[in-house]
Each structure stands twice: as C-alpha cells, then as structure tokens.
C-alpha cells in the first residue's frame, strides 16, 4: 500500500505558508554554506592537491608521525575523564539546587554564583590560575606546601581545568531535566516505601539516564575540541586541537592539517552520532501543558548536610581559582613581588590597545548573540514542532556543528573562503572581515542554543501550539505569540550564552582573525604563551568583568520580564 495524497497535501499546506517557506530556505542556505561547505572542502583537501591529484599520502604521512598518534591517545584519555567528572559534579550541583532545601540564603547564593562563574569565564582563566596557584611559582605549591618544582603542565592540569570549565554546562542541563521531572512520580515511589536513595536510583536516575549520556557527550566533545587550555597548560602534552593548530601555523602544511582535522572531526562525529541516535529514542516529553505542582524539598539533615558540605568545598575551590586572576593582574611579579600595582592594566590600555580589543570583541559578540539566539530558537521550533521534508537536514546539520571542533572549523573556513567559495572568488570579500568572525561566532554557538531550545520545547505540550494554529494563527504568529513567550527564559539565557561564548571564543577565531581586529581572547593567549601572566591576567579580568556583568544583567531581566515570573506569581 503506497501513501496516497497526504504528502502532496502536506506540501501544499507548507507552500501556503510563505513565512515558513522563506525561513526554511534561508536556513538551509546558511547551514549549507557555513557548516557543510567548509567541512566538505576539508575532506577534499585531505585527499587531493593540485600537484599530486587524488592521494592518500597526507594521511599516510600524519599517521607515520609518533607525535600525532600520541596526540590522539592524549586527547581521548582527557576527554573520557573530563566527561565523567563533569557529568558527576554537574549532577551533584543540580540535584542540590533542585531537590535539597539549602539552609541559608548565603549557601544558595554561593551555589548559584559558583555554578555560573565558570560559564562566564574564558577557558584560559582557569589555566592561568592553575599555573598561578599550583605551578612552580604557585602560591599553594610554593608558599604553602614549599614544593618548588611542581609541574602542573600536562594531563592532570588539563583534566582539572577542563572539568572545572565544563561541569557547569552539565549542571545547567541536569537542572533543566530535574525541574521537569514530575514530583508525584517520586512521591509515589517514596509512598510505596522506597528510601530517598532508592527513589534516586530507581526513579530519578533512570529518568535522567538519557540526560546523563547527553551531558557526557557534550563534555567529551567539548574537551577533545578544546584548544585554549591544552595550549596554555598542556606544556608538552599535545592534544589533537593544538597539534592541528601548530601544523598550519607553524609547519604551514595545509594538506596535513586538513588530514589531521578530518581525523579529529571523525572522532567527534562518531561519538556524536552514536549518542544522538541512541539517545533520541530515549527522549520523551515528561511535561504537559497543564500546571504542575512544586516539589517538596528534602529537609532531612542526613542528606542535606553532607551534600551541602561537599558542594561548598568544591565551590570554595572554584572561587579561589577565579579570585586568583584579578589578583594576578594587581601584583608586580606573581610569586616573587607581591606589591600592588596598576602597571599591567596601564600597559594593557597604553601599550597593547586594550580599548580597541575590548571594543572589537564586545561589538562583534553583541552582533552575533541575537542572531544566534533567534536562529537557534527557530531551528528548535521547526525541529520539534513542525513536519516537513528538509527538517531532518536542518536538524542534522545544526547539531553536526556541535561535533565540529573550532580548530577544524577554522581550517575549513581558511580553505573554503580564503579564495572564495570553491576558489571562484565568490564570498571572498567576507574573508578577513568582521563578517566572517560574526558568522563563526554564530555557527560555534548555534548547537548549544539549539540544544537548549529543543529541550525546552520538548517539554511543552504540542497541543498548546496546535491550539493557537487551529485558532487561526499563522506559523509566524504561533512562534511569536506562543512558542517564544513559553521559552522566553530559554531564549534570554540563549542570548547571553551566545554572547559569552562568542566573546570568550578562541579556537576557530585564532585561525581567522586578521590584524585589523584585536580580540581579547587572542591577546590573552598570546601573552600567556609568552609567559607575561600579568598582562594576560589584566586582559582576562576585563573579560570576566564583561561576561559576568552580562550574565547578572540577564538574570535581572529574567527576574522581571521572564515567563517563569508570571507563572510563578500565580502559584
């Protein structure tokens, strides 16, 4: 039995909706040009060159290098450890926030700040403070423990720093999931005689399982794609991302770099596909459009005290790491001369064009953020709520971008746009300008935004939108009057996340930025590499101030204009 006319009717219905069609066409074009095309060029360049034609020599040559093989194993080891640790710590923090009655306002405030801090900071901040606290001149190692030759560089350095950087992402994911679990399921289990621990293992945990896989996946991919931390704290412990960077900037071996990039891309892609198609089936909507009740928080001291203590210890550690950086910018010579000084800040602004770096980073990110946030919400809406043919393509490509490490994307852009598209000169004029930087920012933050948008939308009963549609609202109206307001919080946080991700981005950007743009992150990297920690810290302090400020602003906005407020008030 073949399908009848429904396919053609569905197509007619779609065409009767010009706003939808235009959006879909524009989206597909954008995704094809700025995500698929650069990756395709990479694949081509890794097996083809003008001189030798089609060849596997580039792969043969890179796999012949011991350093490259070591880089692969290094990367995987770090990735797995960081993925596991981040998921565990993220879950702990989320559980404490959603389930446990925290005794004091101070404690709950502390949790929020701590879990937010790493999100708003550029990755190297932790690497810097790691070196300043535990390195050869580190306060803790040298002055407290009197260890004079501690080596923070390498595996453990990267692992600790990356875990601290990425666990907040897991925390956010888990918090969202936990909040969406209907408390009555757990109450039912408790009512039937299960202990708290049993409820956690038999109800909460199984419900979270796809989410845990998700968190691990996200962190693993972030970790092996991470460029900045291995660059600063890796020392001689090379990972794939840094190796590729050196291959193209140091050895000028474009085809070799392309082949390496393909290898890195292959690893992330496999992880991504396995997880995505395994998880997809397990994901189910747990909430309906109806009002649900609030959860009874755990007040049992035997649960709250240990969890609170554990989180506090970690919190204090993370806070210490962050306080370190601004101080690093205020002392004359870290580890030797602890006289206060403003000379680093003065140098940043007088000698190293700090104001321009600040302005360039800020403006470009400010342009990229709303584009990213809106784009990711539109994609999520289409993916979750609508049926049409190209949907699978849109979903796949926008999620694919998550599996693409920045370094890989950067090389893809160099190869793909330096001579215009397909080396024809088309779109060549955007190469080396702010436009391509903004596009890279958007593409880099899109998957995160889309992911959170999709999970937010999945929680909304489909019939709420159907009802608006049925009542006479067109797609655009449904999106603006129902979908967007319902995920307003998610949209606002997507906006800030996109901004923060952009202003702290480095891996792809460092390959594409031209001297006409000074970006703060690139400056930090440069000075940290040189060992000028004072200046690097001064730049990083400015960056932390910007990002932290914008997150505070977002929280204020959500507090006063968010949907949750209106709904919460009603309760």
């Amino acid at each position: 039995m073949a399908k009848g006319q429904s396919a053609s009717l569905d197509r007619k219905k779609l065409l009767g909706d010009p706003a939808m069609v235009t959006t879909i066409v524009l989206l597909i074009t954008f995704l094809a040009i700025f995500i698929l095309y650069p990756l395709a060029i990479l694949l081509v360049d890794s097996v083809y060159s003008a001189e030798s034609g089609l060849t596997f020599d580039f792969f043969k040559s890179i796999f012949g290098k011991r350093t490259f093989i070591t880089a692969i194993t290094n990367t995987l080891k770090v990735g797995i450890l960081v993925g596991l640790l981040s998921a565990a710590i993220g879950l702990l923090f989320a559980y404490v926030e959603v389930y446990v009655k925290v005794r004091t306002r101070f404690m709950s405030g502390l949790f929020k700040v701590v879990s937010m801090l790493p999100v708003v900071s550029p990755p190297f901040v932790l690497s810097l403070s790691m070196i300043m606290l535990f390195g050869k001149a580190g306060i803790i190692t040298r002055f407290l423990l009197h260890i004079y030759d501690n080596n923070v560089y390498g595996f453990w350095g990267i692992a600790v720093v990356q875990t601290m950087t990425f666990f907040p992402v897991c925390y956010m994911m888990f918090r969202g999931l936990l909040k969406n679990i209907d408390p009555s399921m757990e109450e039912a289990a408790r009512d039937m005689g299960a202990s708290r621990f049993r409820v956690f293992t038999s109800v909460t945990l199984p419900l979270l399982l796809p989410g845990i896989g998700n968190a691990f996946l996200v962190t693993f991919i972030e970790s092996i794609a991470d460029f900045a931390n291995p660059m600063i704290i890796g020392g001689s412990y090379d990972t794939l991302a840094t190796t590729i960077y050196l291959q193209i900037t140091g050895a000028y071996d474009k085809n070799g770099a392309c082949a390496m990039a393909v290898v890195l891309l292959g690893i992330t892609m496999v992880m991504f596909l396995v997880q995505k198609y395994y998880l997809e089936r397990k994901t189910a909507a747990t909430l309906t459009g109806k009002a649900s009740r609030a959860r009874m928080l755990i007040e049992d001291r035997s649960v709250t005290v240990p969890l609170t203590v554990l989180c506090s210890v970690m919190a204090l550690f993370v806070i210490m790491m962050y306080i370190c950086v601004p101080f690093g910018a205020l002392f004359k010579t870290w580890g030797y001369d602890f006289h206060l000084t403003t000379k680093w800040f003065v140098q940043v602004f007088r000698k190293y064009k700090g104001l321009k770096a600040f302005k360039d980073s800020f403006v470009l990110s400010l342009i990229a953020a709303p584009i990213t946030a809106l784009l990711s919400m539109i994609i999520s809406y289409l993916v979750v709520k609508r049926k049409f043919k190209a949907k699978a393509f849109i979903e796949f490509v926008s999620m694919l971008a998550m599996a693409v490490p920045g370094t890989v994307l950067g090389i893809g852009y160099i190869r793909g746009f330096a001579g215009g598209m397909f080396r024809t000169g088309f779109l060549q004029n955007i190469y080396g300008t702010g436009v391509i930087l903004v596009i890279v920012f958007v593409v880099r933050s899109l998957p995160t935004g889309t992911r959170s948008g999709i999970s937010a939308l999945r929680q909304i009963d489909k019939s709420i939108e159907e009802s608006a549609y049925d009542m006479g609202a067109g797609s655009l109206k449904v999106f603006t009057s129902v979908t967007l307001p319902l995920i307003k919080d998610s949209f606002l946080s997507g906006l800030v996340t996109a901004f923060v991700r952009s202003i702290t981005a480095i891996s792809a950007i460092i390959l594409l930025v031209t001297p006409s743009y000074l970006l703060i992150t690139v400056q930090i990297n440069e000075f940290a590499e040189k060992g000028s920690y004072g200046i690097a810290c001064a730049f990083a302090t400015i960056l932390i101030a910007i990002t932290y400020g914008s997150v505070l602003l977002m929280n204020l906005i959500i507090k006063f204009f968010g949907t949750s407020r209106k709904i919460k008030e009603a309760e």
């Binding site: 159907e466 009802s467 608006a468 549609y469 006479g472």
Partner: protein, 362 residues
C-alpha cells in the same frame, strides 16, 4: 445576554477519506482510517466513538487540518478544505489536555483567537465577557490558568474555542482528565452550550455513556472504519453487529435459528423454546441468528418464555441485578424498581420473557 447563536453553523462532509500510517515496528503501511464517509448536518452534535486506536482522533485531526488524508476529500460548509492549513480552516478545537496558554491569564487565553482576527478592543471585551458568562467563569478573567481547577480549565478551553464562532467545534476527548462527577456535569454543560449557540460539534470519546447523553448522531468506529452510525437510540436498540451491541452498554446474546418470518415479526427457535422478535425485513427460515437483548428489556418471573436458573442476585438500590443461565448462555438482567416484586435468590428456577419490539435480531 445578547442572542449568541452562531451566525453560520457549517456542515462537514467526509468524502471517503483514508489515512495511512507506517507501523513503527514492522515498517508496514496500514490504514489508520479507511474509507470513512460522513455527512454532518449544520448545527448537529456528532460523536466519533470507539476504542483506542479506532481512528477517531485521527479523523478529527484531519478535519482540523493537523493531518492530511491520503484518500478522499473533506468539505467544510460545502468547500473542499484538504489543502488548507489549520489556521485557515473555520474550525476550533478543544484539546484533551486543554492546551491553555500558560503565559496568559483567562481573559487573554479566550481573547487570543479574536485578537488574531483584528477585532476592536471593546468588541473583544464584550465577546469574551459574554462567553465567560456562558461557561460560568465570570470574574475569573485575571486568573492565571494554573490557578484554576480542572473543570475551570476545561471551561476556559471551551470558551476559547467558542468565542471565535467557528463553523464547526471539535472536541478531542475533552473530559477524560476530569473526575467522574465533574465529567457528567460538564457533558451536560457542553450539550447545553452547543444547543444555545446552535453550533456544529464533532466530539471524540471512548466513553459510550458520554456519547449517548450528548449526541444527535453517534459514529461508532472500529479498526479505522465506521462500524455503525445513527442516533443514540438506533445504535442502542438496533446494533448491526455484536461489536456495536457490546460496546454500547451491556448486552445479552442468545443464539438460535429462524423458524418463520413475516409481518415485521420473526419467530426464532432456541433449544429452550420459541420466541418472537420484531424485524424490519423478513429473514430466511432455517438461518442461524442471534437475539440481542438489553438487560433492562428482560423480565424475570415465575412463568414466562424461557426457563432459567439464577446464579447471581444483587440489590443495587434502583434495581435488582440478576445473572441467570438460559441453557448454556449467561444472561444479565436489570430488574428496575424491585421494591414490590418477588426477589429470586441464587439457585432459584425462574422464567425470562421480553417484548418482541425490545429485542433485536442480528
């Protein structure tokens, strides 16, 4: 309240529509709805009734436009609407989960459809106020939806669909989330409002008592096809199959053989005796047949048509409930108002009898 009758209730015609789905496990295509032909008169209340998976909701969603039929054409008020998107169709749906907008208060929820139609503010104010009065929610305008009880949320959903004066109102199991008492109250309410407004309504449910009490017409579906359609009374007393008879209320079946047939009356021979059943058309003598008997249509006494033995006798207040054995067949009897009647006890021998016009022959 001004006259709120809908200006133009619309008829709905389903011209042999089918919907094909793919079984997710086997990958095979199957008909979720097959060759459904219906003509719904303007202003009537029609219920699609059936067990889950019978295709009733799919049919409703095709009328609303959320699904597209694979075969056939749907007409609304005489116009073909197959290619129209849901927002362009003159339908309004009340969802099972109510689907209220959680970020709006009651007033804004109800006003949503009117605002889309660019109606002036005072007019919106008037119509929303009127409709909230009709559903007895006056004074609740500023409440958020999660401050309402289930029944109130249901009323908001109803008001929101009614206020746009749709050509046809669609209900997708709207009462399934309410408790039994409220369900009975709300269905009376829905019927009252539908008749006040004179609106066309198509209602999906799996609850037969809901369907009986609310509808002008019942369309009973099974496995994607229409099993029977008719007024509640026709369906109840003249079921065309065992499935229909059994689905609508309690039913007894007595197997027998046609002895003779004529003049609207057919004689049926059972092992226990001979009985008469009213029939519209004569039956051929000698064919096997089944007598359909409703429990309340059977009388139990010390003498009668067929002998039986009592297996259960239970006082239910308004009636005495019997299970008796006629030959090998179990027969359920509802003996109304038993206060002055003889009560038979378990093990007693008795006779059953029934009026030929209260029985039906399959």
């Amino acid at each position: 309240m001004a006259d709120m009758r809908v200006k133009q209730p619309k008829g709905v015609k389903l011209d042999h529509i089918s919907k094909i789905y793919q079984d997710p496990k086997t990958g095979k295509d199957f008909y979720a709805v097959h060759d459904v032909a219906l003509d719904i008169a303007p202003g009537s209340f029609v219920t699609l009734l059936g067990p889950s998976g019978c295709g009733k909701t799919t049919t409703l969603r095709m009328i609303a436009g959320f699904e597209s039929p694979d075969e056939g054409e749907i007409y609304l008020g005489g116009e073909p609407i197959n290619a129209l998107t849901p927002n362009k169709r003159d339908t309004a749906m009340v969802f099972q989960s109510y689907a209220l907008f959680p970020h709006y208060n009651v007033f804004d929820n109800v006003a949503y459809g009117l605002r889309l139609r660019h109606i002036s503010k005072p007019e919106i104010q008037r119509r929303v106020t009127d409709i909230l009065k009709l559903v007895e929610l006056s004074g609740m305008e500023q409440r958020m939806t999660n401050q309402l009880s289930g029944g109130q949320q249901q009323r908001v959903a109803l008001a929101r669909a009614l206020v746009v004066e749709p050509g046809v109102l669609l209900f997708d199991e709207p009462l399934s989330n309410l408790d039994a008492k409220l369900r009975v109250q709300m269905r009376t309410e829905i019927r009252r409002i539908q008749q006040t407004l004179g609106i066309t309504a198509i209602y999906v449910t799996h609850d037969q008592s809901e369907a009986m009490s609310i509808s002008d017409q019942i369309i009973l579906m099974k496995g994607g096809v229409i099993a029977q359609m008719g007024t509640p009374m026709e369906i109840y007393y003249r079921p065309n199959s065992e499935f229909v008879a059994d689905f609508i209320g309690e039913c007894n079946f007595l197997k027998g053989c046609v002895a003779s047939s004529g003049a609207g009356l057919t004689k049926v021979v059972l092992p226990e005796g001979e009985v008469s059943v009213a029939t519209d058309s004569p039956r051929e003598a000698g064919t096997e047949c089944e007598i359909v008997l409703r429990p309340e249509a059977i009388a139990i006494a010390e003498s009668g048509m067929l002998p039986c033995r009592v297996e259960l006798s239970c006082f239910m207040g308004s009636y005495q409930n019997y299970h008796v054995r006629v030959g090998d067949t179990l027969v359920k009897i509802t003996d109304n108002c038993p206060v002055n009647k003889k009560i038979f006890n378990v093990g007693d021998a008795a006779f059953i009898s029934f009026d030929p016009s209260c029985a039906h022959l399959l």
